[in-house]
Amino acid sequence: MTDTHTRDTQWLRYMVLHQEREDKPHQHAGTVHAPDAEMALLNARDVFVRRPECVSLWVVRADLIFTCTQEELALHPDWIESLQPSGNPVEKYYFFAKLTQKGQFTHIGEVEAQNPTHALKIALQAYPDTHGFAWWVFPVKAVLKSTPDDIAVMFGPAAVKDFRDQANFHALSVLRKLMRKQEVEESHES
């Protein structure tokens, strides 16, 4: 083997959105690369579900997400007002927002719009209490989702691997006990 160049492409980037529990919204986990959405979903499972907190995974091509930050909006306060529907057919968009400085992008809701910027405008008006610091909109139909049937097969295996949880090791209590014993011995010596 002489040529170290990767030679092949790493394919498209897919954003991965995961749901930890039924009663929690989907949140951004990271991205994977894959040649299509189906394999992106499988890769997402391998990369992001090594621990049991997952009931649903979505993948969506990163280049189909329209993103905007608070800083960008603040630079042009009238930009958002100037946005007009484009005359395209109306479709559903997901709306995600980063609600706190340290937070992760989180699913807020859906809107109907004719294009991504129009969707952002409508979403910011529709969810005035959840403005946050940065936003994503993307077409609902662009998302590939795991199904309820996938839960056992895709996410079940992680559930039995309890050794991935640090709480199942007793190292800390053993070390504390030994260190206390040492302190007692040292105080006797002096």
């Binding site: 083997m1 170290t4 160049h5 990767t6 030679r7 092949d8 492409t9 790493q10 394919w11 980037r13 986990a29 990271g30 994977v32 690369h33 894959a34 040649p35 299509d36 394999m39 990369v47 992001f48 090594r50 621990r51 990163a62 280049d63 189909l64 997400i65 329209f66 993103t67 905007c68 930050t69 800083e71 960008e72 909006l73 630079l75 042009h76 930009w79 980063k98 400085q101 340290k102 992760q104 294009n115 991504p116 910027t117 610091f133 940065a134 691997k161 050794f163 991935r164 949880d165 640090q166 090791f169 007793h170 190292a171 800390l172 053993v174 070390l175 030994l178 260190m179 014993k181 040492q182």
Partner: protein
């Protein structure tokens, strides 16, 4: 605004205004997100750090991977597989964070496989016994946790979020390492001797992981100014020694540093000078395993080529 299908929003501020605004945001503790304005140097430093960090996670699988087939029992084997798998995941999280800054996965992989990119010097040392799985988990992952806990607070949103996820998983790595060390240190005389030998070999390379002294670290000032790092190499190294030295000693193990002692005046553990010649020698590619690690990475990439080709062929067949 990546993935934008519309005209980007025009930024009419002067460069000085942009920089002032950026530094004010960092001073307020805000997170910088992809799409926000950032100085080129901030972007450059982050791509350098995050990609090096990603490479370290990926190469870091190799020293421990070598012992998966030699684990002493099934449970230890499952634990080690899970740990090595986590490191693969950490590499993925980090490549992703670098991609949000405009670096491509192809560029980063090329840099690693061509030997142009750097990764943590620690992974160029050999694993010689099962006890090394304990020493790596406790010392190497323990040192990484200190660094990564700091980076979880860094000013760049995607890097900070990757770190939060990684830190949670690293705690399992350290615990399983401690569990091995405790078992061997409190075991038979042979087991204890094997553990001691391992600590003797890993102690100094672990202290080197934190990097050069602050006075010799060219990037330190700018990284701290822009909230990428909030602690210096020497501060993190001291925290590591303060935490780890007394715990190892409580197990009856010794630390291979004649100068090591507790200084009641400073309330810190004083330790001897690091052999920086050894450190730079390993960084420059002449460590005991540099060549072996690169060969293994290139081989793994070549061996995976048919899988990537098969996936591409599948997509072509069923999507067209």
């Amino acid at each position: 605004m990546y993935g934008a299908t519309v005209e980007p929003i025009e930024d009419i501020r002067t460069d000085a205004e942009k920089l002032a605004g950026f530094e004010a945001r960092i001073a307020r503790g805000e997170k910088i997100e992809p799409g926000d304005w950032m100085p080129d140097e901030y972007r450059r430093q982050l791509i350098r750090m995050i990609s090096q960090h990603a490479h370290s996670e990926v190469v870091g699988m190799l020293p421990e991977g070598a012992f998966i087939t030699r684990a002493p029992n099934l449970r230890r084997k499952l634990i080690l597989i899970a740990k090595v798998q986590d490191e693969a995941g950490h590499g993925q999280y980090l490549y992703h964070a670098a991609e949000t800054l405009g670096a491509t996965r192809e560029e980063m992989l090329d840099a690693l496989l061509s030997g142009k990119a750097k990764y943590s010097s620690i992974f160029n040392y050999p694993t010689l016994s099962w006890a090394d799985m304990g020493a790596i988990g406790w010392l190497v992952d323990g040192a990484a946790i200190l660094n990564q806990t700091m980076l979880a607070r860094c000013s760049y949103g995607p890097y900070a979020r990757a770190m939060v996820r990684i830190c949670a998983e690293e705690n399992f790595h350290r615990r399983q390492g401690q569990d091995i060390v405790i078992t061997l240190a409190l075991g038979t005389p042979e087991q204890k001797a094997m553990m001691q030998d391992s600590i003797n070999r890993w102690w100094w390379p672990t202290l080197m992981m934190f990097g050069p002294h602050d006075t010799d670290s060219s990037n330190s000032a700018v990284l701290i100014r822009w909230g990428i790092k909030t602690k210096t190499n020497d501060e993190l190294r001291q925290a590591f020694v303060d935490q780890t030295a007394p715990e190892l000693m409580a197990l009856g193990l010794t630390i291979p540093d004649p100068d090591l002692h507790y200084d009641a005046a400073t309330e810190h553990w004083h330790f001897g000078e690091i052999n920086w010649d050894e450190f730079w020698n390993v960084v420059k590619g002449n460590g005991p395993c540099n060549a072996e690690r690169m060969t293994a990475r290139r081989q793994a990439h070549e061996d995976g080529l048919w899988v990537r080709e098969a996936m591409a062929a599948y997509t072509e067949k069923y999507q067209s």
